[in-house]
Amino acid sequence: MANVLELHGITKRFPGVLANDHIDIILKEGDILALLGENGAGKTTLMNILYGLYKPDEGKILVRGQEVEIHGPNDAIARGIGMVHQHFMLIPVMTVTENVMLGVEPTRNGIFLDRARVAARIRDISQQYGLEVDPDSYIKDLPVGIQQRVEIIKVLYREADILILDEPTAVLTPQEVEGLFKILQTLIEKGKSIIFITHKLKEVMAVADQITVLRGGRVAGTVKPKDVNPEKLASLMVGRDVNLIVTKQPAQPMNTVLEVRDLYVRDERGNLTVNGLSLDVRKGETLGIAGVQGNGQTELVYALTGLLPLVGGTIRIADKPVHHSAPRNILERGVAHIPEDRQKHGLVLSFPIHDNLILCTYYQPPFARGINLQEQIIFKNAETLVGQFDVRTPNIYVPAASLSGGNQQKVIVAREFSRPIELLIASQPTRGLDVGSIEYIHNRIIEKRDEGAGILLVSSELDEILALSDRIAVMYHGQIMDIISAEDATKEYLGLLMAGIKPAEAAAPTRGNRKQKKVERVF
């Protein structure tokens, strides 16, 4: 088949960084090309070049065999290149139709917006590609998976036939990912060509026709899925052998460090999202909390760390009640917290790295003497931690915002692990990170467990829960469905629990070391 898009020798330099170094990429018509690479490998720069946001220093771009210069997003669209961004560019209070027509508003009689015509075309497109999007619904009412389809419709509406999807699965649930893959198949059946940017190996193996792996701004290899396995891909990405299976010693549980009894918490909108939950975490073990997003995990973590007030129940950390304590008092009891939303809670993005590394301890010696900040010690601390935790940054003075997601997470981990901790609460610790960073953070968490800290791991990635936990609790509608030993856990059984189905006692595998409350609400 013909090459719809060719990049030859694309090179882009930023001050101090060679972001793209003579990259060659070929996209064939009707293919899905997966662009695989760690954060910072140059994927985003390359796509911004393709989308006309950056001008390459060297190299040429051929669209359908014709050399072109792309001067901006409108230019890219005009040449049939459309981009679906990782962060959606949608206006929540507008309808699907209004969002799609934004920027290309067709009018009747030159003044009136012709919504009906756009809505009709959206229905057409939706039908044709099996997208199932109602043009009249408001964006704010749609689940994330459907919002993403709206983004795809925006691109299709503008008649793009080369679609670039930037990390499209990062925000989706497993079911939504399945749905997206079906859509991608339909799209290529109808003659579209797709570049699929990701760092998730399994997805690549599942959907791609071609895989181009980027590493350090260069093409590390172009392969077909049938010729490789995930391990091979991972080592191409990272540049060394990667151990995809987490190895850990059996846990050596000691005394209880976290004791939660009959916890009730309301979320910010006043809904009771944690509904009579009890659990224990012992030092030296990892308790994984599995569950579909939105079943109260976030509020549970907020309550444990003092960020949300309790409606009822008790929390004891290291034998002291903390359920009325301020966040700082809880932190000072030896709690480390890797927050779910690293950009919102975990970092002050505009602050330099060295300040982010003392965000929780700035007022304590040695960083402060009285109220005086000890700059030299803060700098030294940062240099040390950046080295120890392998944070890739030009220096410790750049703002955290300038780091890639993986490196931002490493800054948080470095900060939280640099304090003496009894209990680690890690919420979605590897969401959106690349293989190398995931491996790194997983190993660090296990290391902490082995040093004797209790770990409470909240993750919506079942693989992560299974890999790290010693015991697994499944959360559903604000309650614990069951707590089982990780050795006995099967994905099937966990999946049932996650869906709120409690199999008969007999069918359940061996129990973990604590029975949970009986759950009444099962449907």
Binding site: L307, D341, T361, N381
Partner: protein, 401 residues
Amino acid sequence: MSDQAIQPVEVTPPGEDPKKGTRGKIWQALLVPALAVLTGLLIGAIAILAVGENPLEAYGALFAGSFGTPDRFIEGFQTYFASGDTSKLLRAIYPITESLVATTPYIFAALSVALGFRCGLFNIGAEGQVLMGALCSAYIGYSITGLPAFVHLPLAILAGAAGGAVWGMIPGYLKARFGAHEVVNTIMMNWIAFKLSDWLLKGPMQASGSRPVTPNVEATAELPRFFPDPLRLNWGFVLALAVAWLVYWFLFKTTLGFEIRSVGASPDAAKYAGMNVTRNFVLVMAIAGGLAGLAGTAQVLGVDHWVGQGFSSGYGFDSIALALLGKSHPFGVVLSALLFGFLRSGATRMQSMAGIPIDIISIIQGLIVIFIAAPAIIRWIYRIRAIPVSDEAMRTRGWGG
């Protein structure tokens, strides 16, 4: 990897000298404001042309009015060396001292707004806080007699700071306790201050006689002047510089400042890190109020020695522009206050000598603020590349905040 990693073990030499990086950043930070000022003056020149006057003559008068004229300096030195008579020399430095006098309240008030910005708060109440500071200082200044200056003056200064602080703290508390937006409340506090001062000046604080003004403060409460009359430059200016340095130290070198900046840059992260966000709102509004109060204090104790109706005409509002212009950095604020002070002061002569309405200065100031607020215009005009990672100083949140 151990729990004791908090103790730095070995220092790897930094890849880049932080100071060097900082210097580059300062140059970057100054470039756009400097060009904004130049562009404002250029467009101001067009406006002057449009009203049929000569911009060269106008700016000449502006310059002479704010800095003085070379011939007067020469004459001043000649007379001084010839006869030891300083009067001509004093006359030569008069414009520049007046500019510094005009700068002083701007520094204080703009520091107030800048501090608020750093904590994500929009202090529109500087105007009222200035007035309260002035009234409190005046009251202590005239009502207490018989104290030595080294007691009376500090007392009067503290009273001004306290008056402003109370006026700032109230909206801060209302925000922390009830979530009431500080923009609304500071505006309300302005009105309360205006009306309260009207009442005080006609009643309890009115000097005998018919004018609605306070009595003059005692000589022991005056900020000493450096030169004989009519030169009004006084220790207030030095105090302003010292306070600017103090605010810098407080914001960037102390744990409290670290908290304030964290709360301003990301309240969520600050809360996560165990900081008490609402307490910081109260603290910052109180300090900001105190700083604005000092603007009134310096004006009363150093320049006017009494307070009359319409005391502060817009220091508080100008200071919002100044804080923006100074990127909410204390040193930037001092520079922008100097700019506005010199412009305002020079405008008197420009108005007198060249017949240019004083409003042209407001136009120039307005243009400068527009260019600062929308730096893209300046970058576009002068083809400057944008700084890739923006580190904007102002991070106030919207109405929902």
